[in-house]
Amino acid sequence: MKVRIKFRKYGPVRFIGHLDVMRFFQKALRRAEIDVKYTGGFSPHQIMSFAAPLGVGLESNGEYMDIECNSVTSSRDMIERLNSVSVPGIEVVSARQLPDWAGNAMASVAAAEYTVRFREGREPKFDWTHAFGSFLSQDKIMVTKETKKGLQKVDIRQGIYEMSSAPSSDCPAIHLLVDASSAGNIKPVKVIEAFCDAFGEKLQENALFITREETYTNVGTSEERRLIPLNEVGTDIEESTDMYDNINGDGNIKTANREGMEDGL
């Protein structure tokens, strides 16, 4: 059974890289005693897939990973168990069962939504809150991208789906919805660099505080996109009323219950 887990990442753990977040969850799943499926061999590993990697220093309200489970309890129970063994700043917000037809998290990613804030004193001087329209009216927005072949000039205009003032935030901010598919992923910092560039300014070093708000998959077509959050593909797992559902294939009562029993003793 495939389960898609959505989590937030904020605070000090922003400085933990993608691979280390993966390692964190491998250990967290063991601590939470989630019944994850493993590969075979001498060094078995959990069957796990992460959606779009988040850069070091970024915050997120919409990170995803898919795991395969032998058995599950309920969405609520999984969320509680994972959060009880987590650290401040990594918070699981949903755990939903995926239909069999769903592609894995990584392959499913089509777009990502960001809120971008300028750090104090590092805002550009031009009237940027009113400049989105003219920036987006360009036919092409060329940026230099690091590829395996070295630096390449690419056009990112088609990959910027939305760019506007972010609604209801404490300080002026930018709302961005951009292509995040493996073929066309656009880093928000590249967009803002091009934005400043277009108005004759250079973005200062480490000028942005970026929050990824959500990661989307496309359930429409490539011409007519219909973007929905990755966890909307799945459905909540309800708590079972039948106690025998809580028994594993090997006949052991699941640990959550067993621990409860020990506590009672």
Partner: protein
Amino acid sequence: MNKLALSDDILMKIEKPARYIGHEVNAVVKDKSKVAVRFVMCFPDVYEIGMSHLGIQILYDMFNTMEDVWCERVYSPWLDLDAIMRKEHIPLFALESQDPIKDFDFLGITIQYEMCYTNILQVLDLAQIPLRAEDRGEDVPIVIGGGPCTYNPEPIAEFFDLFYIGEGETQYESLLNLYKACKKEKLGREEFLRRAAKLPGMYVPRFYEASYHEDGTLAAFTPTEDGIPATVTKEIEMDVSNTYYPMKPVVPYIKVTQDRVVLEIQRGCIRGCRFCQAGQLYRPVRERDVETMKRYALEMLKNTGHEEISLSSLSSSDYTKLPELVDYLIEECDKRHINISLPSLRIDAFSLDVMGKVQDVRKSSLTFAPEAGSQRLRDVINKGLTEDVILKGAAMAFHGGWTRVKLYFMLGLPTETQEDIRGIAELSNKIAATFFEEIPKEERKNGRVQIVASTSFFVPKPFTPFQWARQCTKEEFLDKAYFTKRCIGEQLNQKSIKYNWHEADASVMEGVLARGDRRLSKVLLKVYEKGCFYDAWGEYYKNEKWLEAFGECGLTVDFYATRERSMDELFPWDFIDCGVTKEFLKREWLKALEGRTSPNCRKQCQGCGASRFGGGICFEPREADNTCC
């Protein structure tokens, strides 16, 4: 969540910022307004090394079980952050609270190897604590040293207020109680240290004085005040099954060297290899109860989520309940998809069977540590491993499918001759030959066997029978390595043998620091002022700076390393009583020179002196044995 000590700008600029942010799983956070003592434990090397150290995890856990104590951690900032902290005057901070270390009550530094001494200075310097203990005022943390290197604390004596000699489980509580009492009475730093010096296991360098003979050797080492003990006896935890052990060790975010649950199954070693310091320091052998170990294993796996577990001890094959423990772990770990990382085991039918179960035979290699190439020299060092045992073990392993063998040797051991060195090549060759003899051509995977022979250079250490031995010069060491290489090149199966050797410069300096005296504090200060630290990392070790510093201090490397020491010389570490007596070490040194071996503790007591601690192997029945040497 605590506010980070480093700004986002800095964290985005440096390598692996996760080294400095704390907040790891199982890290202990307390309310600082509600604790009486703030302790920070330091391993003076980079995070990935320091976080792999079991000792700190044990003490961290122990301190934090004390309700009014909050123990945090700190490691050496890596070079990139070090440069930024110096430039921007950012004080070194503890990981948990992110508060500056200079505001703590205690800074405890574990000292595991000599080449980290300059990193101690780096930590003090970045923490904005005066490097020399005598320059420290009332508002500065008490700097305590512990760990194996403190069995000769003299080279770093000037930098420490206090050394805790021995195992940490026993006296810290009394030390902290004393501290609290002194603080309450506003007695001040000096008086606290004076009283601390009277607690068991505590050495406070400022209350001792060294004088020297004209030839530079130590004439006397005495307390400067009445009531300060002339001898400091090591502390030892005799009930190892019922003491502190971290059931919830801190789990780092980034990959560290020891990224697994570590189960310490016993302390001490029965073997008595004459070059080995740990084998003497941790006497007597004390085994941990196997049922306790089983329980700890499962609990720690559950609390950390680690995917691997390993056993820790000096010689795990000598743990009497090893088969029982390993069988249990194999069964339980298999259920949980946990890997078992085996310690180095004596190669026999049992260990090969276990290894075959827990490792991929095709990918793993077999390790032997004969340490010396000839039987004669192995007898000198009392390494009870014979060629016959090695070849039989190798043959068994080759039949089991192994094709890779690692061999560890030392060069420059006392009495070593060219013949002994040639023995390294010959033994390597015989192991390769065994493969070709034992395994028929059609069964040979890739048709080959790979032998990797590695040599390190012998460094004489305090409290070993070889503490009287002269160490080779760098040139002698390198000649020996080239000769080894030539001998290997002359072997029939030389194509199957790869040879590696270590750096010689740092080995000599390690020897100097290991057997050094108080005067070396000046050299260390000079070396550090010349910009040296991370000297344990080969690429950052600058030998010429060290030699310069010796010259400027009017001291020589030869005095500490290559000089012959007389049997009645007073050593700088003689004021410490580590349990084994100097008489015993002398007996062993003389036996070594005659090439005579000593049986291990389980076979026959050698009267080393450690039985006075009243427990461990000294009071267990001897093995009925007729093959005794």
